[in-house]
Symmetry: C3
């Protein structure tokens, strides 16, 4: 980031950052964690995961002794053994053995922070407040096991804050512009947006949206019809886009984001869908389109990140059609301050051309 103040155009040193530790984030896919320790980073904090008989374990990836990464070590008898001096840590982060030591082995100071860990639907989730028993549950991807639904998973990293990435995924106006031709055609329609902010989420419902005239629309609903369309943010890091095209097509793309560090965010997208097309054909058609669209978003977020870092802060202007971004930030900031979910629900309505 910028050491010197910007002399020509001063900018407030402020970013849309919120680090909500009291919640769950995906550390890795289940298949990535085998018999060896695995290093991952969340909130710029090095973690090491390993499997014990009681399920996956997550510890701070820093030996209590001389601070080398425990992920360089190995798993032996349910313990994670450091590669430097052989200190052996159990699933609670307590050191159970110091090989060279004649005196007692389990000094209280000899421990590393441990993070609650859960394996669910093929992902391993970590609760980012260390040494705490979580009161909330990890997000569950909908329809993963529902009959008649196909599933596609995709993981990729964005160079952008958690907030910028969430806003990008749930933003409608940019699709007509950055992704011109994929989602929307030339004709613009006046669409009513109903926004409902609940205790731990905010949802935008798009009313009166015609079937998209872009490539996507022609594939999924060649005969037209009406569309049900919802964009949702669910705390702390899920962006969900839901489409209902006629009675027969239902698509949900749920993206659970992991903040690797302030300006780097990993996306774990799970698309679950039931369409008139057989799932394999739909996959074959939509996968290259999806990759192209994600690449465009990746590039734009990277350039946005370069710019805000160069200026030393964000200087955004908001309009009526930036429907979710500000609500998302309020939810995140509130949780970061430890204030708990909102007690009430608020509803807003606006219109946009798309």
């Amino acid at each position: 980031m910028h050491a010197e103040p910007a002399v020509v155009v001063p900018t407030k040193q402020r970013y849309s950052l919120a680090r909500v530790l009291d919640h769950w984030y995906i550390a890795c896919a289940s298949h990535e964690l085998g018999s060896k320790p695995l290093a991952r980073t969340i909130f710029d904090t090095p973690l090491v995961l390993f499997r014990s008989d009681n399920g996956p374990v997550t510890l701070l990836d820093r030996c209590a002794h001389r601070n080398v990464p425990l992920s360089l070590g190995r798993v032996e008898k349910q313990h994670l053994v450091c590669g430097y001096h052989g200190w052996a840590f159990d699933g609670a982060g307590q050191c159970q053995q110091v090989p060279a030591l004649c005196s007692e082995q389990t000094g209280k100071a000899r421990r590393v922070p441990a993070f609650a860990t859960r394996e669910q639907q093929g992902f391993i989730w970590v609760y980012m407040r260390p040494d705490v028993q979580p009161e909330v549950q990890p997000f569950e991807f909908p329809h993963v096991d529902s009959p008649g639904y196909g599933t596609v998973r995709h993981t990729m990293d964005f160079r952008g804050t958690l907030h910028a990435t969430l806003e990008n995924i749930l933003d409608v106006p940019h699709t007509a512009f950055l992704h011109r031709g994929f989602f929307r055609g030339v004709t613009r329609n006046r669409i009513t947006v109903k926004v409902q902010r609940g205790p731990d989420r905010v949802e935008a419902e798009y009313l009166g949206e015609p079937v998209p005239t872009g490539v996507m629309g022609r594939i999924l609903a060649p005969q037209g019809g009406t569309v049900g369309h919802y964009d949702r943010f669910i705390m702390p890091s899920v962006a969900q886009v839901e489409y209902q095209l006629g009675a027969k097509n239902h698509i949900m793309i749920s993206s659970a984001l992991t903040p690797i560090r302030d300006f780097e965010t990993r996306l774990h997208a799970v698309a679950t869908f039931r369409t008139v097309f057989p799932a394999p054909i739909l996959k074959a058609v939509l996968t290259p389109i999806g990759k192209h669209v994600l690449k465009q978003d990746y590039d734009m977020l990277s350039k946005q990140t370069d710019a805000v870092q160069h200026f030393g802060g964000e200087q955004y202007v908001h309009t009526d059609v930036d429907v979710l971004g500000a609500h998302i930030l309020r939810l995140l900031k509130r949780a970061e301050r430890g204030e708990g979910p909102f007690a009430d629900t608020e509803t807003f309505e606006t219109e946009l051309l798309a």
Copy 2:
């Protein structure tokens, strides 16, 4: 730069930096700006240039909405259109259209800073104080269109402050040493230097200088004779070297520098000359020599910059023969503080061996 203080040899954290915003700098050559937006950086500030029917326009290269670079967008109907959400900015930086918005389009907050822009003698100049009507004019290169004069243009970047680059260009003593053999021979001559500091410039006149005995001298004045030699700094960033060898040879090399950022400076040199030699022959002979000399200066300035950054500041000693550097810094610092040009003129005299 250095985070830690230097423990062995403490150095004051001070650099010869001055950022004079109330003046003109070259952003690019005219031929570089076509129908697409062009990104340039001055004073570490990203700018975007584009052509409108009213001439070239310069805006801050940061969309008012989500801060992505406008230079990623395109020019449509006299407007610069952002590539993310399609916001369209006019030549004054005012947003004239937000495609997704149903309500009014031209909110006052939706604007980006605009910089006065002038196209002149094949260069596009930008006034670096945004949203201001300049009271001064850009520098005019002399003799560009004078009959009998040839012109050579050369652009290159130095890794050094504006001040260090100016001082290097206008410094005589280093030519005998760093460029040994090119400008001066083995014999040293005692030369009187008359320094005159005016309101917005400082000039050194070298009296009694014989024709140089190096390569340059032998080419331009094989029969010897006297020399008229002036080195000039003209606010805010022009270094000018003028030679008159006998009645028939007149050479002016005017370098308009652009401070890209604190330690990176772009040189736009325009050499205009009238000599006994035909211009094409002179160009053919002097171009490789000029490149060699500039490479030597480039390397030395880079090493100087590495050193002052490593130590966290400059720790210079000045002597009588560093004739212009201190005056240049005073002029720049005064203008940076907004005090306007000096009211008086001062004259100094010294001697040097060269």
Copy 3:
């Protein structure tokens, strides 16, 4: 290093750093310094060495005039001449000539700091407090010229603090783990360690240590026997390991470390030995093992350094078997504060399994 505080696991911004300037460090091997100036860095301070008739000279590698590195210049008539303007410095750092200057040449301000320099046993040592006559002597490597002793020299750089590198070299417990199979076998022995901290050193004597069962032991003492084993730290930066295997084998490995900068340390190891094997055979056998062991230590120190820098500080836990590290840091910190050597001697005893 880390700009932002670590939010998940806060860490004190504290490192085991001590910069003892009032002592000698190896700048280079004698054969590296020929007729050209040589650039070296110690304590992050650029130095330039050159040879004069009075022996090697070390100056700050920064010209007093415009701060370019003097190491870009050349040696002429006992002076180091800067490549930019030709200022010529003598062995005391005083400028004796400014070529362009008509007035007096040896202004007092025109000097660069000079460092006491000593050539000894094939190394050039520099005293890191500038412009001071040292009261202490550089370390002398033992047995370099003793009859019957072979010598091997090895130089390499570690990415770690001086303290972390010293502790690693003198640490016994990690050898059984990181270097498993090389030094020690599977059977662990209870060994008594006698630690004696003197005025300017600390020594660990290992009592009752059997001949190592690893590769090293089998090579040097195939028939077993008892071992004399001492690990020593000698101010400010020598780590010495001494082994006596039976009457006939005596090995001393003395490592004089040079702190290039806070997290980069150069090792100059001199092994002197008298063994039942002819020296060339021992060298041939032990060199590849030594390289492998050093590579393992290099990798581990690098990872440790990454980790402490990432967290913004060290957060170590100490045990009874970390026998020398804390004493070394106390000696270094005391000397950094200029308090001089300890007046007394302390003795401690502990036990470890190795």
